[in-house]
Amino acid sequence: MTEPALVFDGVSRWYGDTVALADVSFSLGPGVTGLLGHNGAGKSTALKLCAGFTTPSTGTVRVLGTDLARDPDAYQHIGIAHDRDALWQFLTARAMVALCARLRGVADPDAAAGRALDQVGLADVADRRLRGFSHGMRQRVKLAQALAHDPELLLLDEPLNGLDPAQRRHIVELIVRLGDEGRTVVVSSHVLHEVERMAPRVLVLVNGHLVASGATQAIRDLIADRPRSIRLRTDDGRGLGRELVGAGLVESVRFEDGAMLVEAGDVERLGRELPRLARDAGVRLRRVEPVDDDLESVYAYLHERARGVGR
């Protein structure tokens, strides 16, 4: 049996006292995998380790069945679009992509560059100097140089950053296609719905810990089903609070700064029944707002949960 394209085994990486990645293990085969986490969660460190740009403090990273530090020939089969906005400004897009292809052993680098630039939708500006390129165009040049040598493994760090909606759609389709062709594609992002559109599988990193991994839909459901805090502003909080607890819609009620904070296990049900309950109780709802719907609290929840089940 062949080894999966990417294997992390007990990988930790720290910088001085800061832990960037803590005891992370996973293995990835063909298809698109999302690497999800907030800024500073360890996504870029994980991708740098995959790309051989740094070495683990402990544990082992194997890429295409080898250790890149010992076997740089494997780079012929790896395409990397890193997060730095780095291009050789004095070259044209075609020259830069062709140069990268040539260095990775492509027989006809000019033809390969033409194809790759066409794939990312830059064929018409291929012969312009990179100096004048917009952020979105630069992102796509980075992607083109990662594709030009037809790699088995693609490591894409936030590839949709700086793209407008039409370009995003185009690049998402391209990434999905690359996965369907049997390549192993790792795409990092801090936006869940973005990852959902291209990756059937996802790894979630929080503060350097791998807190969830599996089918994107399952993780989506996990996130949707988590207990949520809702802040309610009403003209008679105590009366409504009693009704909510009595109806079993909320698990706890707390008062804070003149507002009522409730914790709900099933937010959708609360949303459906709250207006009727308030009307029956003769309470006027002034404001209803979720307090932990941001991504940070989603990650915090996954982190807590991962610790709770004794990872």
Binding site: G52, T54, A69, P72, Q76, H82, W88
Partner: protein, 244 residues
């Protein structure tokens, strides 16, 4: 990977040369290379000392310890530091090229660019200072000393660019404090001076005004050894450090 015979990658060599010759820095360095030409012109019109002595002093007190050192350090450091700063070094690092090949290629390109500025300036200075009386040794030995010292400076600057954030600043401080000052009056200190070995080679062809005791072959071996060591250390550092 450091292991494996280093070679020069033609595409990376061309890319680096192109990058070094883009921008205003190269113009500033070219202006610096003109300083000995201007000095020779001033001397030729004044003509107060023997041309041979002037030529020997110009080489040993200005061209080798200051002009060559400065140009080679700035170009050698930039060849790597620019790519580290921009992050473009990651494109080179994610290829089958060994890290030693990348470093050796960068040093070769930096050396080429340095010599492209220095050689015409030295030849023009010689023509002006010595007039028609120059013999081959008066020009060939100094050129050999300049070329080897420049190579060594480029390699050391490349290593500096892998270990510190501001390699040009550190390199220029080294030139000013050590090469330009301490090593010129403390006799034993010039054993640790690249320029001193460059001068040791140059004085095979010109009057010795400020050269160490080392013979030209010894100077040659020492400069080559320091170059190789610096390239190896830079490549080793590139393997172990986090990029960019």
């Amino acid at each position: 990977m450091i292991a494996g015979a280093p070679r020069i990658s033609a595409p990376v060599y061309q890319l680096t040369l192109r990058s070094l010759f883009t921008g205003k820095r190269i113009l500033a360095l070219a202006a610096l290379a003109l300083v000995p030409v201007i000095a020779s012109t001033v001397f030729a019109s004044a003509g107060e000392i023997e041309p041979e002595l002037f030529w020997a002093r110009l080489l040993q007190r200005l061209v080798i310890p200051t002009i060559t050192a400065f140009i080679a350090i700035v170009i050698g450091a930039s060849a790597i530091a620019d790519e580290r700063e921009d992050g473009t070094i990651l494109y080179l690092a994610s290829t089958p090229l060994s890290r030693l090949t990348i470093i050796v290629t960068k040093i070769a390109a930096a050396w080429t660019a340095t010599l492209a500025l220095l050689v015409p300036a030295v030849l023009a200075s010689a023509a002006i200072a010595l007039g028609g009386e120059a013999d081959t040794a008066q020009i060939a030995w100094p050129l050999a000393g300049i070329a080897l010292a420049a190579l060594c400076y480029c390699a050391v600057a490349a290593w500096l660019a892998m270990v510190v954030r501001r390699p040009v600043v550190i390199g220029v401080l080294y030139i000013l404090l050590w090469e330009g000052s301490i090593a010129t009056f403390a006799a034993s200190a010039d054993r640790f001076s690249i320029a001193a070995y460059g001068r040791a080679i140059a004085v095979e062809g010109v009057i010795d005004v400020n050269a160490p005791d080392a013979s030209a072959p010894a100077a040659f071996v020492i400069l080559a050894a320091v170059t190789a060591l610096a390239a190896w250390a830079a490549a080793r550092r590139m393997t172990r450090t986090e990029l960019p």
